[in-house]
């Protein structure tokens, strides 16, 4: 009886320690950063365990600031690749302390995790072949539209079909590169996805001039760094660091570095200037979910 109480107490203590990321970082001098393998210029891999990208670098700066704040001589960053499916469970169970990929901040997710202030506002657009003559979503009626399984764009297209009474046939790629291939090979007439993913894939295509990003903005989604819920001290530390970067203009410079300049591995430019919504988010730091953007 006494032994089980002891075990229970130890577990509770361990659980409590887990919730406080800052003390865990202090004790172990290590932190686990969740990264994506192929999320456009936001977070991707160069192979061989090297992860780079706009959000990845923002997180590296944030962790550097926190290291100074905690007064640690060394802070080891362990990079943990995550997928759309497992990123939230991994943050919830403590495997990943800070997820720096391309996660949309929405109300449903805020029940399970919390988000830092929004660093990038994504606009969902349409990519088509330049000679197809398609310029808006209404012209996609009766055509094949590609999008990637497991993304918010699938539901967006469904909502749009219902609302505007257009009917198009959805083709699903298993990942972004596959969806782009569907459009490239002609199986789909358009690829609907976040603008930066479209721009990144077009930049890497054999003939970038053959493709265009067209049409109205279908949805505006705030993309933010994901943190464990109920850890206000860590969130404040991360937010303070990001807000400082926004005020000093550092974040605009980082954006320019990843979205407007040539980036590894192929030294091509994504060429997507910061949208008005993104600049607004930098000027007015907030962690509002996508539902509040829609209301505007």
């Amino acid at each position: 009886m006494k032994k089980s109480l002891l075990v229970a107490a130890a577990l509770v203590a361990a659980g409590a320690a887990q919730a406080d990321t800052l003390s865990k970082m202090k004790e172990t001098a290590a932190v686990s950063m969740g990264v994506r393998e192929s999320s456009g210029a936001l977070s991707y891999t160069l192979g061989d365990g090297k992860y780079v990208g706009f959000h990845t670098e923002v997180c590296q700066r944030v962790l550097g600031d926190i290291q100074k704040k905690l007064g640690l001589a060394k802070l080891e960053i362990k990079y943990q690749p995550v997928t759309s499916q497992n990123r939230i469970p991994l943050v919830q169970n403590g495997t990943v302390d800070i997820e720096c990929g391309s996660t949309t901040n929405n109300a449903t997710r805020q029940k399970d995790v919390s988000f830092a202030v929004t660093t990038y506002v994504e606009e969902v657009r349409i990519a088509v072949k330049a000679n197809s003559g398609i310029t808006s979503i209404a012209q996609l009626n009766g055509k094949n539209v590609a999008t990637t399984t497991g993304t918010t764009s699938v539901q967006l297209l469904r909502k749009h079909e219902r609302a505007a009474s257009v009917d198009f046939k959805e083709v699903f790629g298993k990942d972004h590169a596959d969806s782009f291939l569907l459009m490239e090979s002609g199986r789909a007439d358009a690829f609907v996805m976040d603008g930066q993913i479209l721009a990144g894939n077009i930049a890497k295509a054999k003939n970038p001039a053959d493709f265009k990003i067209v049409g109205e903005v279908l949805s505006v989604e705030p993309i933010a760094i994901m943190l464990r819920k109920d850890d206000p001290a860590f969130k404040k530390a991360v937010d303070d660091s990001i807000i400082a970067m926004m005020k000093s203009g550092e974040i605009a410079k980082l954006y320019d570095k990843w979205f407007m300049q040539p980036i590894p591995p192929s030294n091509t430019k994504v060429g997507l200037p910061a949208s008005e919504a993104t600049k607004f988010a930098w000027a007015n730091p907030n962690d509002k979910p996508v539902e509040e953007y829609v209301k505007k």
């Binding site: 399984t149 918010t152 699938v154 909502k159």
Partner: protein
């Protein structure tokens, strides 16, 4: 963590909970969607099974005839489709062949997946049917020929009835495998259960409930095939024969 099974009653575009759990007037709930996905899984699997049984049995028989060229055809078929992973075969059918043979571009991806899955399984079935035929005593074939039956009559009336009864258990396994292997069809845009689990899990953030429901449906589908095969096995059983009572 808290369970939220009511997520299945949510409408897929507005996330409102529909009281009857089935959408009306053009609305679809996640329950509607999972049932439709299940329908796709079963359609792909059953059609592919029919293709696999027909083609596989033919190739298995061809591998046991005296004509060396037919044996070579059967062997080549089996080795080609046995040595390439299923997912790679599906990509070959979906991406590579339509770019080599442009007439295939008009074919819907459902048909391509049925052929890919069917031919993959036919290689395994041909191996089992061949083994079943070869497990019969050699005397059976020669006795049939000696009595005056032609080769195809010997197969039809003497060899195959016994061989198929012997290989019903491995064929049952293959049929169950085809239900499970149909899950790779998500990679080529078939709206089946695995794609449902990934997409609905992402939309509702309730991955656990979605994957558990999909697991249950796969289990029920495969187990049903298992029980149906058992019924067939008992019905066709010949007392006193191998496998019979």
């Amino acid at each position: 963590m808290a369970w939220d099974w009511q997520v299945f009653c949510k409408e897929t575009t507005s996330s409102d909970v529909v009281p009857s759990c089935f959408g009306t007037g053009g609305d679809t709930t996640y329950l509607n969607w999972i049932l439709s996905a299940w329908g796709w899984t079963l359609s792909v699997a059953v059609l592919a099974l029919i293709v696999a049984l027909l083609v596989g049995s033919l190739m298995g028989i061809l591998r046991t005839v005296p004509d060396r060229r037919l044996v070579l055809l059967g062997n080549a078929w089996t080795e080609v489709f046995r040595n390439i992973p299923l997912l790679v075969q599906i990509f070959l059918w979906y991406h590579v062949l339509p770019s080599l043979f442009t007439s295939l571009r008009a074919v819907p991806s459902f048909v391509l997946v049925v052929f890919a899955l069917g031919f993959f399984t036919s290689a395994r079935i041909s191996e089992q049917v061949k083994a079943g035929i070869q497990s019969l005593p050699r005397g059976q074939r020669y006795a049939g020929l000696a009595v005056g039956l032609t080769l195809s009559q010997t197969y039809r009336y003497v060899l195959l009835p016994m061989a198929f009864r012997i290989v019903i258990p491995p064929l049952t396994s293959e049929s169950m495998n085809i239900i499970k292997n149909s899950s790779v069809a998500f990679a080529v845009s078939i709206a089946e259960l695995t794609m449902f689990a990934m997409q609905a899990g992402e939309e509702t953030s309730r991955n656990v409930e979605m994957y558990l429901a999909v697991t249950l449906l796969y289990f029920v589908s495969a187990f049903t095939i298992n029980r149906v095969a058992l019924v067939i096995e008992n019905r066709v059983r010949v007392p006193g024969m191998i496998g019979g009572k």
